[in-house]
Amino acid sequence: MLKVEGIDVFYGNIQAIKGVTLEINEGEIVTLIGANGAGKSTLLKTISGLLKPKHGKILYEGKSIAGKAAQTIVKQGISHVPEGRRIFANMTVEENLELGAFLRKDKAGIKQDLDKVYELFPRLLERLKQQAGTLSGGEQQMLAMGRALMARPRLLLLDEPSMGLAPLLVKTIFRIIEEINQTGTTILLVEQNANLALSIADRAYVVETGRIVLSGDAEDLTASEQIKMAYLGGH
C-alpha cells in the first residue's frame, strides 16, 4: 500500500532521516519505535506532505506522493494525527470534526462517518458544542483521531497517541485503534511506549538517529533481547 524507498529529509543543514526504506501492506498495523528525536515524527510528516524529502521515493498505491502538497495526499486517503493532537482549541468539537471532512463534498457520506466517529467515541457526542480547548487530554486525543477519520482515510498515521494520558485511558485509546484497524483502515503508529505499540502491531520498525536499524514481526521483536534491553525496560 505504502512504500518508502531510501528517503533523506533535512531540516536546513541537519539531516533528520537517512535513507529510510519501509513498507506497509493493506490492513496492517505497523509501528515505528525508537527514542525521542530518532526521526519518527519527521518520517510521518514526510509521508503526509508537511515535509519534502530531498532524495528517495514515496509510493502510495503505486503512485508517487513524495513532495506533493498535504492537501493532495489527504485527498488520496492518508490522514495524519499529529503529535500533541493539534486540535483547533478555539472551535467547537463539531467544527473540528467538520474540518476533518474539509475536502469532501458527499454530504451523505460525511453524515455516515460522523455517526461512526460518535460510535467509536461517545464522549465526543456529549461534548459536540463545547470548545475543543476545554476537553481533557484524552478527549482531545479522541477528537484528533475522530477528525482524521472524517477524511475517510485508508491509511491513518498516528503520532504518539498515548502521550500524557493516564494508563487506563491509554488502554481505551489503543483498543479503539485496533477497532479502527478492524474496520479496514491501515495504520502506521509512532509510539514511545514500545511495549504497548508492539502488543497491537503486526510488524515494527526500530528507528535510531534517522535510520531503520531493525525490523520484523511485532512478536519476534518483542521477544528479541536487543529490543528488550533498549526499549522495553530491560528484562
Binding site: S48, G49, L50, A69, A70, Q71, V74, K75, S79, H80, P82, G84, R86, I87, F88, A89, N90, M91, E95, E98, L99, G100, F102, L103, R147, A148, A151, G164
Partner: protein, 292 residues
Amino acid sequence: MELIQQLINGISLGSIYALIALGYTMVYGIVKLINFAHGDVFMVGAFVGFYSITILDLTFFPALLLTMAVTALFGVIIERIAYKPLRNATRIAALITAIGVSLLIEYGFIYFRGAQPEAYPADVLPTEKISILGVSINSQSIFILLTSVVLMIILQFVVHKTKIGKAMRAVSFDAEAARLMGINVNNTISATFAIGSALAGAAGVIFGIYYSKIEPLMGIIPGLKAFVAAVLGGIGIIPGAMVGGLLLGVVESLVSAAGYSLWRDAVAFIVLILILIFLPSGLFGKNRREKV
C-alpha cells in the same frame, strides 16, 4: 441632547474605524503581519467609489459593491506580490515591506493621478434631518451606520458559517494542522486579504460620503487609528476590532465635544499607549496558554 448627537457622530466615525480595523486584525490573525498598506487600500477604495459615482454614474450600493470588488482584488495582488515571497522570512522583514508597500501606493497614486483632492457629491445618500425624541439625526449617519452593521454581520456569518471562514480560523490557529485537514493555506490567506481589503474599500466609500473630501494621503491617519482600534480590541480578534473601532470613535467625538478637538488625534494614541502598558493583549485578548 448635544451629548447624544456627539455619541451618534462618534459611532458613525467608529464604524469606519471598525471596518478598517477588521482588515488589520484578520490579516494579523492569519499571517502575524501588521499590514501597514491597509490604510492605503482604504484610500484606493475612497477613490474607486468616487469615480464609480461621478464617472460611471452609479448610485450608492452599486458603487459600494464595485469598490469592494476592486479593493478585494487589489488586496490579493498586494499579498501575492509583496508578502507571499516573505512568508518564511523574519517578521521585521515583512513589516518593513508593508511600510514600503504603503509608501509605494501613496506616492505611486500621486505620481499617476496627481495629489489634488476630490470632493464626493453631496447627494449620494439622502440627507434629511430626522428628529427622534428631540435629537436631530442626519439620515446619512443612519445609512452609514446600517451599512457598517450589515457588513459586520455578513463578516460574522462568513467567518463562522462558511467553509472559507472555517478554513481562515483553522489556519490562523494552527497552519500546519490546517494543512493536514487538506486546507490550502495560500488560498485561505489570499481570501483573508480579499475580505479585509473589501471592508477597507467599503470604509473608504463611507468615509468619502461622510466627510466629502478625499485625497491620496487620506489613508494614513485613519489607518493608524484603525490599527489602534485593532490593538485596543485585541489584535487578531474579530469582535475586538469592531468594539475597539466603535470605542475609539466615541472617545474621539466626546473629546471634541468637550472642546478639545485639537487633541482628538493625540487621544487615540494615548489610548494605544495606555492599552500597551496596562492591557497588552487588548480588551478581548486572552493570554494564550503555551502549547505543550
